[in-house]
Each structure stands twice: as structure tokens, then as C-alpha cells.
Amino acid sequence: MAFPSSRGERPGPVPRGIDCFGRRFGMWAMADWSFTKQGPGGRISPLCLSPWGLFVMPSLDPVILFFILGVVAGLSRSDLRLPAPIHDFLSMVLLLAIGLKGGVALSQQPLGEVVPQVIAVGLMGGLMPLLAFPVLYRLGHLPRADAASVAAHYGSVSVGTYAVAAAFLAHHDVTFEDHMPVFVAVLEIPAIVVGILLARGLEKGTRWGRMAQEVFLGRGLVLLIGGLLIGLGAGPEGVAPIKPLFFDLFKGVLALFLLDMGLIAAGHLGDLRRHGVFLLGFGLVMPLVGATIGATLGSALGLSVGGVALLSTMAASASYIAVPAAFRMIVPEANPALSLGASLGVTFPFNILLGVPLYYQLALQVHAFMEAL
């Protein structure tokens, strides 16, 4: 039972696609998941899919298939369930691994180059809730606290979506800047602060000390920044002995995590039914807006195509760890079912199933456009 370690040597007659039936569906529903190999940064040409190909989706990243398995099991009321301690364990390994990677990258880079990018990305994170809030508050008629909360979720970032996007790029041999995880950590915070300001204003009652504690000492950020600092301190040589756990197992751990997130997301689809189509629409459109902003900023900062695609994905993604935890404590009157329904029930599935390849296409376009200038 041998598994070729290199992906290039797939033997035999699969995919068997000849007649190009289903090409149109393939273009949209699977976007770029079903594309053939290509060199870094180049344009991927769509593959002609057979009906069989349509069914098994031969080049859909298997971690996505784990997510779909989770959603299907959840919706069909299987008793499949990952114990909470395992959920915590898996997300802990993911957060530390992403942090470590970013930290190792930082350890080999002049800080001077990264600092301006960090500031720009942080500003983007703070401005996005200001963009989303009026839409939610005026157009969606959400209560102020809820509008602020949802806006903060979308200004922040989803680590799971980031991991899927990074895996997608690696799968297609698209390189990106090694320090991208730094932006994940940076994006967590400003949207929370701005969101709380939107909910509360600058009223005296706000306990900023308490807020800082909730935001900075939340387990997600502690693991992400802790991993960053450890990677920074240890460097590539230092982290080598822990590479088998944190890097070699990364995609396997991500697969199990997405299986669990599929089960959890299935449980949040019901939330949406209760809160109407506005949130559904917002959960589909806001990522596209965010992706465009992220791609533009990434290009302006001079990132590579892969880096632009990742920043675009981060901007398109919505938090479901740090922001809900912080808002639950600081703006408790905001209904978590609303924000999690949108972020977990709509945007997360949309992003990892369709968004990621889309944002990569977007990155290619924006990059080409910027270069043409």
C-alpha cells in the first residue's frame, strides 16, 4: 500500500475526462480546485472534467473533503462528534504551528521591511468594521450591538480559512511570503477594538483594562503570538526537532479540524434560517468586498501573487474564535447566534469551498493589473 510522496507521479487513467461534459459546472461550482498543475504564480488553465470527475472532484484538496464530510454528517444527524478536548487540541496545534512558521520567517528577515506592512494591515483590520457597520446597522436594521459585533467578526480573521488557503497555494506550488502568519496575528486585534467602540462609543463605563485582558489574553492570540515568539527565538534550526509534530502533521491536523468545523458549521445553518436572508447575503457579499480590499492592499504593499491571495483571503474571512469570545464578555448583549451564524454558517464554508480559489484568481488579476500600471 504505497503512497507516492511526490504529487506529480499519479499513475494510470485518472482523471478519465474526455468529453468535457460538465465544464460549465466545473468553472463555477468548483472554481479552481479542479485545475492542473502549473508553475509558481502563473495562470492555471481549467481542466476538462468528466462526469466522474464532477462526482469525485479529483483535485479538490482532501482537507476540504473532510469539511464536507463533517457538514454532511452533521446535517444528516449522524452521531459523529469530536470531543471538546480534541477540538481544543487540534486548534492548539494549528495555532502554534502557524505562529511558529511566521516566527521562523521573521527570524530571517530584517524587521524594518515588515513593520510598515504590519501597520498597513492593522489599519485595514480597523477600517473594515467601519465599512461593514453602517450596512448592518442601517440596511440590515440590526441592533447596534449586533451590527458592531458582526462588523468586528468580518474585520478580524479566521485562522482555519488562512490554513486552507495556505494549503491550497502549496498544493498548486504557488509560493508566498513566509511571514504571512504575522498578519494573521495582527488582524485579530484592531477589528475587536473598533467593534467595541462602535457598540459602546467612548462612554465612560467601558472597562478598557478588562477589554485589553480579554483581547490579548484570549487563548487563540496567546498561542498564535506565543508560537510567533518561539519561532522567532528558535529560528529554523531551533524548530527542526519539533517539525514532525507541528509541520509534517499540519495538513492531517487541519483535516481533522475541518471535519469538526464541518459538524459545527452544520449546527449553525439553523441559526440563519431564524435570522433571515439579510445575514445570508451579507455573509456571501462581505467576503468578496473584503477580498478585493485585501488584494488591493497586498498588491500595493508589493506582495507576491501568493501573498496577495493570502491577504485577500484573510480580509475575506470572518473570525469565529477571538472575536466571539471577546464580544461575549465585553458586549454581551450582542447575540452570538447572529454573528456565528453568518461567520461559521455562511462565510467559512463559502470561503473554503469557493472563495479561496476565487481569491487566488483575483490575486492574479490584481497583480497583472498593478504590473501593467
Binding site: A84, D271, R328, A337, L340
Partner: protein, 103 residues
């Protein structure tokens, strides 16, 4: 075996969201009971299902044995501070303890 006499005390049980743990335990502690006990829980209520599958969807079940004066104080304080914004069930019952001096 020596005979032991039992003393009436009150048991306050609070079921609420796990995210509240730090805050609510500090508040309970500040009211001065001799201790508390926490178990992990899940459940269903007016705010929907808490499946227990991850932190945000988990509940806690907090028990405090205390005297007749403190019990309503704990129940009322916690209720007033949290019940409007968080999933929460509070109930109080009679229990008997061996050591009168401890609660």
C-alpha cells in the same frame, strides 16, 4: 462510629455559558462562600442548543453550598448581572451537611 447530626444549608446551582467561567467565579468568590464546584455541561434552553462540542458551545454547572442568608444573595447577584445577556438557569435547594462550621 460516632453519631453525626446534620445541619440545614442551601445549595445554589447555576448553569451558564462556559465563556463566563472566569468572571462569574470571581463574582461568586467575592460574595464569600467557603467554595464552589464546577462541572462541564451541555444542554438546551431558550437560547438554543449548547452542544458542548467547543468552548463557545459549552455550559458549566456551578454548585455552591452556603447558608440561608448567602444563597439568595448569590442567586440574585449572579442573576442580576448575567441573566439578561447569557444563557442561565439558577435554582436553589435544601441540603444537609455534617460540618456546621464550614459553610
Amino acid at each position: 462510629m460516632t453519631t453525626h447530626s446534620f445541619h440545614r444549608r442551601r445549595l445554589v446551582t447555576i448553569i451558564t455559558e462556559a465563556t463566563l467561567e472566569g468572571a462569574i467565579l470571581a463574582d461568586i468568590d467575592a460574595l464569600g462562600p467557603s467554595g464552589y464546584t464546577v462541572t462541564e455541561a451541555r444542554g438546551k434552553g431558550s437560547r438554543g442548543i449548547q452542544s458542548g462540542s467547543w468552548g463557545l458551545a459549552s455550559n458549566l454547572r456551578i454548585e455552591i453550598v452556603c447558608d440561608e442568608t448567602l444563597a439568595p444573595k448569590i442567586a440574585a447577584t449572579v442573576h442580576q448581572k448575567y441573566a439578561s445577556n447569557y444563557g442561565m438557569v439558577i435554582y436553589v435547594s435544601d441540603v444537609e451537611v455534617l460540618r456546621a462550621d464550614r459553610y
